[in-house]
């Protein structure tokens, strides 16, 4: 098991190297000069050329790449061209917000997705099943952008129940504050988190509910379920202890994939809800041609995606003893 984990972790190195080379080349291929964007329309061509030289943008592609990789190996991701800060501190300041949103969205997606999936499977073929699957269809096809604006309109503008934008205290410190007698801080954090997490999680909830339904229906026809009923167990017990546990196996892999997508897919959600995570930053960095920052963010997302996949693979062996890691 340990050897497997180490081997997978070592595999991250070539993955990262590939990502760096591909992103670096793509970024240099996009037309648009960061120096010109940085200095704005009123800068003279001489000033732009001077800045290009300062930033090393006039060097050949290979030299630029070599410099970048050299610095990266020493743990230096470079400085953002536009934000006057190191890429690592910018990403460090925001990654928590993005992860918090992605985890919250995933929790919402799993809770809603699994409950509705199980319900639909139990009522297979009835009107409830049809209604739930219609709902799932809607959830899959609804763009997060539109849903976000709609949720904001309903719960913030019209009803005034939840804040429309921004983030409260980070959840970790909010829980700490609640434990030390300030529950309002936690309530505020959760209130800020609900709308964006729901908007982001709906799509995954819909996909998970479909998958759980299909998987449950298959499992419910298995012999061991019939045996469980024959033993005189109650329906809920059969459903939860016997059927659901087995039906969740294929769901785990999709949950891992969805988590990766939620991490990266928060871009629009973050933009709409003013959530101070990596998503908003990504859009700004690309449109400004902030090459070191884009590079850093892509690398960071790629590594997170790879790690999540590793965790998913490891979790198989925990849930299903037939899977061996070797």
């Amino acid at each position: 098991m340990l050897a497997y984990v180490i081997r997978r972790l070592l595999l991250l190195i070539p993955t990262a190297a590939g990502m760096v080379v591909i992103t670096f080349s793509l970024l240099l291929l996009i037309p648009g000069d960061p120096a010109a964007v940085l200095l704005g329309q009123e800068a003279s061509q001489a000033d732009i050329a001077n800045l290009r030289a300062t930033l090393g943008l006039d060097l050949p592609w290979g030299t630029q790449l070599a410099r970048y990789v050299g610095a990266l190996l020493q743990g230096d991701m470079g400085r953002s061209l536009f934000q006057n800060e190191s890429v690592s501190s910018i990403i460090g300041a925001r990654i928590g917000a993005t992860a918090e949103l992605a985890v919250a969205a995933l929790v919402i997606a799993i809770v809603i997705g699994v409950s509705l999936g199980v319900l639909a499977a139990m009522r297979q073929g009835t009107k409830v099943d049809t209604a739930l699957m219609l709902l799932a269809q809607l959830g899959v096809s609804m763009p997060v952008y539109w849903l976000g604006i709609l949720l904001m309109l309903a719960f913030s503008v019209k009803l005034g129940w939840l804040p429309a934008i921004g983030r409260g205290e980070p959840l970790g410190s909010a829980v700490w504050a609640a434990l030390s007698g300030q529950p309002a801080v936690l309530a505020d954090s959760i209130a800020h988190l609900l709308l964006p997490a729901f908007a982001l999680g709906v799509n995954s909830a819909a996909i998970i509910s479909r998958l759980v339904r299909t998987s449950m229906i298959e499992v419910l026809q298995e012999d061991f379920v019939r045996t469980a009923y024959a033993k005189g167990l109650r329906r809920t017990r059969v459903m939860v202890r016997h059927a659901l546990r087995n039906a969740l196996l294929p769901v785990i892999s999709i949950i891992g994939l969805r988590f990766g997508l939620l991490l990266g897919g928060g871009v629009l959600t973050e933009t709409i809800f003013g959530w101070p995570g990596l998503g908003q930053l990504t859009i700004a960095a690309i449109s400004q041609r902030d090459l070191p920052l884009v590079q850093g963010i892509v690398l960071c997302f790629a590594m997170m995606f790879a790690l999540v996949n590793l965790l998913v693979d490891l979790s198989y062996s925990l849930v299903d003893p037939r899977v061996r890691m070797a």
């Binding site: 061509q45 001077n50 006057n84 904001m152 309109l153 913030s156 921004g166 003013g274 908003q280 400004q288």
Partner: protein
Amino acid sequence: MIKRRLLAAAFLVLSVPLIPMGVQAQVQTVRVGVDVDAGTLDPRLARDTSAYRATDLIYDGLVRLSPDLKPEPNLAQSWQNPDPKTWIFKLRDGVTFHDGSPLTADDVVFTYQTLLKPELNAPLRSLFTPIAKVEATDPKTVVFTLSSPYAPLLTYLEMGIVSKKAVEGGADIGLKPIGTGPMKLARWNRGSRMVLEPNPNYWAGVSKLKELQLVVISDNTARAQAFEAKDLDLIQSPLSPQDIKRLQANAQFGNAVTSGLGITYLNFNTGEATLADPKLRRALAMLVDQKTIVGDIYQGVDREASSILLPSSWAFSANIKQPTFDVAGAKKAIEALGWRMAGNVYTKDGKKLSVVLSTHSEDPNRVQSVEFMQSIFQQAGVEATVRVTDWPAFSANYVQKSQHQVALLGWLNIVDPDRLMYGQFHSKGTLNWSKYNNPALDKLLDEGREALDINLRKTAYGKAAQIIADDLPYYVLSYQGYQMFYSKALGTVKPNPRGYLRDVIAFQKK
């Protein structure tokens, strides 16, 4: 020689009571929605609207601009020109930086000397290059010596003065600014929220507010909704026309409109074979349905432009007129140049009359405008194609390299007519992407730049604007409007053409 001492004294006496008391006493925190986070809070390096708005509160410049863009005393109490190439500024007494150190002439000298150094990479460096030397003759006097007379300089000296001691001591004022302005930075959660609090030692009085927050929400509609949900107290341009209509219909909110300091214009590449003839440029300009673009696409947020001079400027004249929409007239003019209709398109010597209309994808209204122009051009017999790319590719790699034919884009911060004309149309101009060259215009632009008498400048720019309206290296589509919505709890808030927030923070007499 201009003596400003009397005027300065009068301003000092009047300034404190005249500062609008817009904010009612009970409002403690004002949350302002902005579309981008400031890239830096170093005024020398500011390049986005949020950085301009924040540094305007954190720092003071030598001068401030009045609503009609005339420079007024600020950190400089008075100034004089012993000759057109020398500007002498006397600094106000008793001004301190946020760290308690006093403002001296050395800080002013340091600010401008470092700004001019190419290695600082200041975006607006080119506006200040006529400064040959800046020196302190005593702790309260700064002398600027210019390489040639340069009247617009005074307007540009509104830029914030930084603390020499702090910067040389290694402080990163981009992140932890130290200015002399009425507000100072309390907290800054990058990308999300910047919190400013009053400077208790501000020389012109202390703000009544407890905090002013700049809250970043990049999506226009989401920002408008956050305002409607009362998560924000004030939002301002850029706003989507659809949101503006909805907010205007809501009696809970105050709305203020003023003309901004920007234009949206068509850049005609006069160096390109088809467009080299001014008569053809005039004909094409007559195919631009300015009224529909401004009224329907921009929904009346902007104003139809008549010339390159801004209505908010002292140089404005309503008598200068560009061509207006007239399809029949345009076709007649095209035919007079020897083009003949073959099928649906004008041709001459076997060549079709065709133009590429370009703009950038970030602004959907501009994309729509270009597509609308395309349909009218084609109906009139001009083959038109549309080219839309994102801003960096459009601006740096296309228009700035004069590879365009007709490009739709804009200029902002036009605080002086020189800033919209010299670089853009002078044969020596560094922003002359139209490749326009006209010795008569060069002469007028030199005059406007060198004359210190505002009436002489006004005459020169009036004549220059007439030449531009006739020759059309630019066709100015609209004067950008500036919109602000605010919670009525703030009282009445006066709009500022650049979205500057000094009126919002309201002072108490010290």
